[in-house]
Every structure is written in structure tokens, then in C-alpha cells.
Symmetry: C2
Subunit: 196 residues, 2 copies
């Protein structure tokens, strides 16, 4: 997904009270949801900082190092992790302009990372925002991995939004605050609680 706020700057609430025709800023919405969950002691989930390779630093003032040459790096893992209902939770967030999600938009090593989290007993999924449909879904890594593997064996190269619930995914029903109240879908998928 596009990195809209590499400095982690918080978006003021009035900017996002409704979803306009250009779609919401998905990453910002996830950050707002996480902040809401933390404030209410529901979960402690953070976006990891964007990994940056620092090449050159100058010291114009003694107190503050200024980075003058650096590059964005490929993340080793996923965007988000933390703790929810005593469980380790880890997910990758993606958005697409289409009504289907192409597997070329996710790194193989991120899928493997999520698979390993699942094997260790953690909650691991991919959350996808389909901008054109204004729909968000979460797909458990086991389901996602099965589809991904099919794709490597000449199966479909993407996951269609309209097919996600058939392959085991759950829709994140958009709420008021937070808009992307994804823990409700997590409850439904991992804690056998109805998503309302």
C-alpha cells in the first residue's frame, strides 16, 4: 500500500468522519482504529516503523543528527503486530483500486512470515481494502496461503472481493468510530463471536 504518512503523523478526526468518493486513507484508518483499541484497553497493536537504510548522517547541530542520505527498505515482516485477548496478532494491510486483489502485490516472504506466526499459535491474517467497492475483508493466513499456492500452480492470479467469504474470509463492516473496526471481524474469525 502507499505510504501516505511515513512520519506516523496522526490525521485529525474531522478529516475522516465520512468516506468520500476518493475512498478513505486506509492506513490512517487502521492507525485510528489501533489508537482507539489502545485507549480503551481492548488491544495493543502498532504499525511498525517503515524500515529505512541510513547511508549518511550529518551533524549541523550537536544535538540533532540529520540524515542526508537514506533509502526505503523492503520490510522483513508485516505492517502491524501486537496483542489482543492475550494472543499475539500479526497482519499485513493492503489496498487495491480493483475489485480483486492480485497476488503480485504481496511479498512471498510476508506470506511465509504470517504462515510461521500461525504455526506458532498466533493470529495471522491479511486485511484488504477494495477502494472501488468500499469494502474491507480479513482473510486468515491459512486460507490466503491456500489460494496463493493455487496461484503458483496456475490457479487464479488474484482473489476476487466477491469470493472472499466463500474461501473463509470475513468482511469488516465499516463503523463510525473507528471506521475500520476490524477486531469485530477478528472476533468472528478467531474467537467464534458473531460479527455485528
Amino acid at each position: 500500500m502507499n505510504i501516505k504518512y511515513p512520519n506516523g503523523k496522526k490525521v485529525s478526526n474531522n478529516k475522516i468522519t465520512h468516506i468520500n468518493s476518493r475512498g478513505m486513507l486506509f492506513e490512517s484508518e487502521l492507525n485510528i482504529a489501533n489508537e482507539y483499541y489502545r485507549t480503551n484497553n481492548l488491544a495493543i497493536i502498532y504499525k511498525k516503523p517503515t524500515p529505512i537504510q541510513v547511508v549518511k548522517v550529518s551533524y549541523p547541530e550537536r544535538s540533532k543528527a540529520k540524515i542526508v542520505e537514506a533509502y526505503y527498505k523492503t520490510p522483513s515482516t508485516t505492517d502491524y503486530n501486537g496483542i489482543y485477548k492475550t494472543k499475539y496478532i500479526d497482519f499485513e494491510a493492503k489496498q487495491t483500486d480493483n475489485a480483486s486483489f492480485s497476488f503480485k502485490h504481496i511479498f512471498a516472504h510476508q506470506i511465509i512470515h504470517l504462515k510461521k506466526i500461525d504455526e506458532q499459535g498466533g493470529i495471522a491474517f491479511v486485511i484488504i481494502y477494495f477502494k472501488i467497492l468500499n469494502q474491507v475483508f480479513i482473510i486468515d493466513i491459512k486460507d490466503f496461503y491456500r489460494e496463493y499456492t493455487n496461484n503458483l500452480h496456475d490457479g487464479p492470479k488474484s482473489i476476487k472481493a466477491c469470493n472472499i467469504t466463500n474461501i473463509g474470509g470475513v468482511e469488516v463492516l465499516l463503523n463510525k468510530l473507528p471506521i475500520v473496526d476490524y477486531l469485530k471481524a477478528v472476533d468472528s474469525l478467531y474467537f467464534n463471536q458473531k460479527s455485528k
Copy 2:
């Protein structure tokens, strides 16, 4: 702790087969330990990227964005987190040149973060390397928090290495590979298993 490898570069093993008189590179040793744990499917724990505020990016080539002005930011949380024995694990790593650890070397918001992780049912601790003694200890956040709170009420301003086991901490006995095999101390502290 000092950021010796902001680019996350791996240190080759032959550099660290023994701890020389200048002490080990603690962060590198923790990264090596985590890599060992991941390779052996014992735990999935990563160091989070150093948070950097990007101010200016230039595009000398179409393919690669070059960051030309950026600054190190204060981390929101801690250095390391992940999953171990199905549990969420989160810790802050510190090193000191003295035989005691001064509370001024840890941010209050990091202590609060670890306290919240503990309240959510996760494993949360501080790991400290006392360079001069060549000793490493882990202190559960509950014990650390108690000492920290005493310090705010005119108690001792630091934790002495020689006193850590008395306040509930556990020594990480230095091993061959990985040298800082801290999960043994975690077993002893959180899973009632003898540290050997």
C-alpha cells in the same frame, strides 16, 4: 542503547565468537539470537525498525526514492516484540557502562507500554547488558515498575546489577550460540523452567 547498525546489517559470526575486552555488541547479539530462534522455529521475534521522520525525498532515478532529509524519532514503544510459546513477548534492551542501570536511560512511555502488555497477558520485560561486568539480566516489568516507582518517590535512582536477582530478575547466562540465549531466562521467569 546506541544504534550501531541502523541498516539492520547482519554481523558475520566470526566477529562475535568471543566477547573481547571492549564488550560485545549487544544489539547485534540480540539480533543473532533472534535469527537463531527463528531458524529453529523456537520463537519469532524481530527488532522493530528505528523510527525515522522523513522530511524530504528526491527522485534522482525513477526507480528509487532517495531520502535527503530525515531525523531519528523517539520510538513509541519498545525495541523487540514477537511470539514465543504461543505468547506475545515484548521487551526493551538496554546497555550500560556502569555496574548499575540508571532509570534516566529508559523512557517513561516505554515502561508504561510494557506495563500495559503485562496487563493484557503478554510477556514484558527489560533486558540489560552491564558491559563492565559482562552480565546480562532480564527483569519482568512488574518488578521493574516497582523499582521505577520507588525511584520517583525518592528511592534509589538506579538498579544495581548485584541486586537484580533479589528484586525478581534473572541472569541470562552467556552461551556459545547464541551468546545471549535470553529465552532460557524467559523460560525460568515465565514458564517455571530451570535456567541452566
